[in-house]
Amino acid sequence: MEERLAPLERQSLGCMLLKKKKLNALGFDTQKFIRFFFASNASVTIIVLVLIMLMLLREGAGFLKTYKYELETYRHAGLEFCDIVDRPLAQHQQLTSRLRRALGASLDTISQHARNRRDAYLNMKRQIEEESSLQREALSVALEQTPSAGDKIIEPLRTQLAIAGVKSAMSLTVRSFFSLDEADKIRAELSQLSPETKDIPAFLKQLNDHFSTSDKAAKKSFATLVKATEIFEEAPETLQEILIEIKEHVLQTKTAANEFNTLKSGRLKLLEAAENTQNPVEKADLLKEAAATQAMPVDFHQRIKLVTSRADELAEKVHQYITAIQKAAANLPTRGSPAHAIALLDEVHHELPLHVQEMQTAADEIKTWSPDKPVSFLTVIGAFFFGSNWITNSSWQDSFGFVPLLTGSLIISLIAIVIATPISLMAAIYSNQFASEREKELIKPVIEFIQAIPSIVLGFIGISVLGDLIKDVSEVTWLQWIPGFPIQERLNMFNAGCLLALMAIPTMFSLSEDALNNVPEAYVDASDALGATKLQTVFRVIVPSAFSGMAAAVLLGIGRVIGETMVVLLVAGNRIAIPDFSSGAGVVFQPAHTLTGIIAQELGEVSRGSTHWQALFMVGIVLFCISLIINWCARTFVRRFEQFKA
């Protein structure tokens, strides 16, 4: 028989209905307090995000104003005037270097043999001198001693040197362009080298003479080319002289303007301090100090007159330069040997018209140039978002163009996504649909572990392993059909892209695996019941159902890649220039800098509040916006997915 429990005692109704006394402080009872506590934790994240946005905006917003001022000074002081001519003139150097290479190649056809013989002799001489350097040193020390060390000491040293000289001369391997007789002569001469003999050895003298005669002969037979190259090289000299004068002048103007500006803001600060202070002595001091910093503003008008007045002269020189190079180019041979030189000359011929045209426009432009043209905010925004140069700490003019950084970031991200997307999606499909339990237990933790690798460590791998690997592979002969091979730089966008792909894989893999997991089992039942094979079910039902989730996974992967800093800073090569797209897909093997990398690299070194500082914050704002947009897209994708989840 079961034991009956005593019934529980019940309180009377009156007792239950009475309100209990609760803990109450500042109008909060416990319930409210706990609720408030949780709410505040949630709001902290939102508040922090808003603060970050405000911070970025506050620091970055000033950029447009300061950069506008800089561009105004650039124009008012006349730096722009110089750049009109200077920029296209840079092309001249490239043309000259091509001409020089062509000339060198041409001359080599005649004088190369003589020069090689002389250079080989000199090399052997150096080798012997190095091998017997100890004995030589000892002897010269002894010889220089005062009073003279005496034959007793000097003679043995001399013998030692002679022995060493003969020994190394005998072991010389003489290059094939010396005959056997000559080789013996060389050995004999070189074994007798001593610090006392000052004359040039006879055979060397002979080689020298031979070289200079053959060089003369070469120059004579390529006289037109030599002459044309000389004219070409000298063509911009007078132009550059004037330009340098003007440049010095405008740079002075700019420096003065900047100094005045610094003084002015300093004075304003002093005056403000004086205003605020109560102590009359201190106030007087501050006012005195402020008065001392009084400076004359720069008279742009007066100073620019000196520049504009020389515009005609400069244009005249530009025209002279153009005629000079055209004349020189007309004299360049278009056929003959060697082919290499002709190819280089062809390039010069090809590029010259464009250069001439650019110089022509420059000449016209400087005549009509006016320093008073206003700089609009649109120009400033354009200069930032479409500027193709990021130049800082320049003695001439800083410029903050955003395009080289953006292209770097975009190309690297593109590489990373192209590599990571198929790998992670396929891995996710395999692990979710086909893998056995044991395989799953291996695949998932391993891929997710990649996320735990610190990015700096991946950077090491990029520098020490992947860089060399890519370079070695690029030198394999049967892979030369790949554009960009063989590559020049170990650290390049492809290398960085590969590592970023590795970093994006865990994100993409996990999220797309979740998306696949969320596909209702009922779909699989329906597909199976219709007689679908596993592959058909996976690729016709499961993957399409998870598509939006997988797309969101890829987008979040892109977000991760765009924002990654350390790896790109270490591995991307950090060359601030728009990559050269002329080599097609080979562009990926060029180094580049990125939006994130530039901030990490430069923010620590700039002075707070400077234009450069603000420019970096602008880059930060853009980066923030990109991430925001990507996240928003990912969310939209997921929301579309949720809508159809039964």
Binding site: P520, A522, Y523, D525, A526, S527, D528, A529, L530, G531, A532, T533, Q536, R540, V541, P544, S545, F644, A646
Partner: protein
């Protein structure tokens, strides 16, 4: 015991169980089942929860065997006179011959057209006119054509619950199977949608052999020609529906029908 022998048999059975035992790895859930479903007739499987109705139904298209350790341990299942566990039986073809509709409607998140055409497509049909034709026939058979013919490209998940279930039926019959299995097809539907499906089931029996599981005894009476009553994995009674409900031969059947236990 009234096995298949006692049921009327002017038509040869399409599905036949001969002494089937079914086990999930360690425990046996079906014991020595003898059952046959006549061509173009509706057969209802009734019984209390966990008696093995669904398992029995899923034996016909071998859907149970997707789980590790689940198998028919004794006896044979014949579909159209062929033992479906013979090694030369192609599972995909078997499932093409035996369509199935589930308790909860499960259209794919695709368009209505793609849903119905799915079965044909996975069996290699790509010709547009054949697909169009089959989709129309299937939707007409499922009494959906008039409602949906103008919005075949709409996502199937936007349809109402009853429409979704009829779409699933259309999808199952698009491959023109012989047998249609239905696992409690109305349990998630409202009374009106249930009525529509029940009417549909009777119409379908003209072209297909229908076997369905139900909890609702009234439904079995309304729809089926034959009824099988299962209890604890054993077939207790099988026969003409009217006869079984009005004059059960077994005590257990009688008490179940009276509601003494469920």
């Amino acid at each position: 015991m009234p096995p298949s022998a006692s049921s009327p048999k002017q038509l040869p059975p399409v599905v036949e169980f001969r002494g089937v035992d079914f086990r999930y790895s360690t425990h046996t859930v079906l014991h020595n089942i003898h059952l046959s479903a006549e061509r173009n007739r509706v057969t209802a499987l009734i019984g209390p929860s966990g008696c093995g109705k669904s398992t029995l139904l899923r034996c016909v298209n071998r859907m149970n065997e997707r789980f590790v350790g689940a198998r028919v341990s004794q006896g044979q299942v014949f579909v159209k006179g062929k033992n479906i566990h013979d090694t030369d039986v192609d599972l995909t073809q078997l499932r093409k011959q035996v369509g199935m509709v589930f308790q909860k409607s499960n259209p794919f998140p695709k368009s209505i057209y793609d849903n119905v055409a799915y079965g044909l497509r996975i069996h290699g049909v790509t010709a547009k006119d054949i697909l169009d034709d089959a989709v129309e026939r299937a939707l007409r058979s499922a009494v959906l054509w008039q409602e949906l013919k103008d919005r075949l490209n709409q996502n199937a998940l936007r349809l109402s619950g009853g429409e979704q279930q009829r779409l699933c039926i259309a999808r199952a019959i698009a491959t023109n199977p012989d047998v249609l299995l239905m696992d409690e097809p109305c349990s998630a539907l409202d009374p009106i949608a249930t009525l529509q499906i029940e009417e549909l089931m009777q119409q379908l029996a003209r072209d297909y052999t229908v076997i369905f599981v139900t909890h609702n005894m009234q439904q079995a009476v309304r729809v089926s020609d034959y009824t099988a009553f299962l209890h604890l994995g054993k077939l207790i009674e099988f026969g003409d529906t009217e006869e079984l409900f009005s004059n059960p031969k077994q005590k257990l059947t009688e008490s179940y029908l009276r509601g003494t236990f469920s």
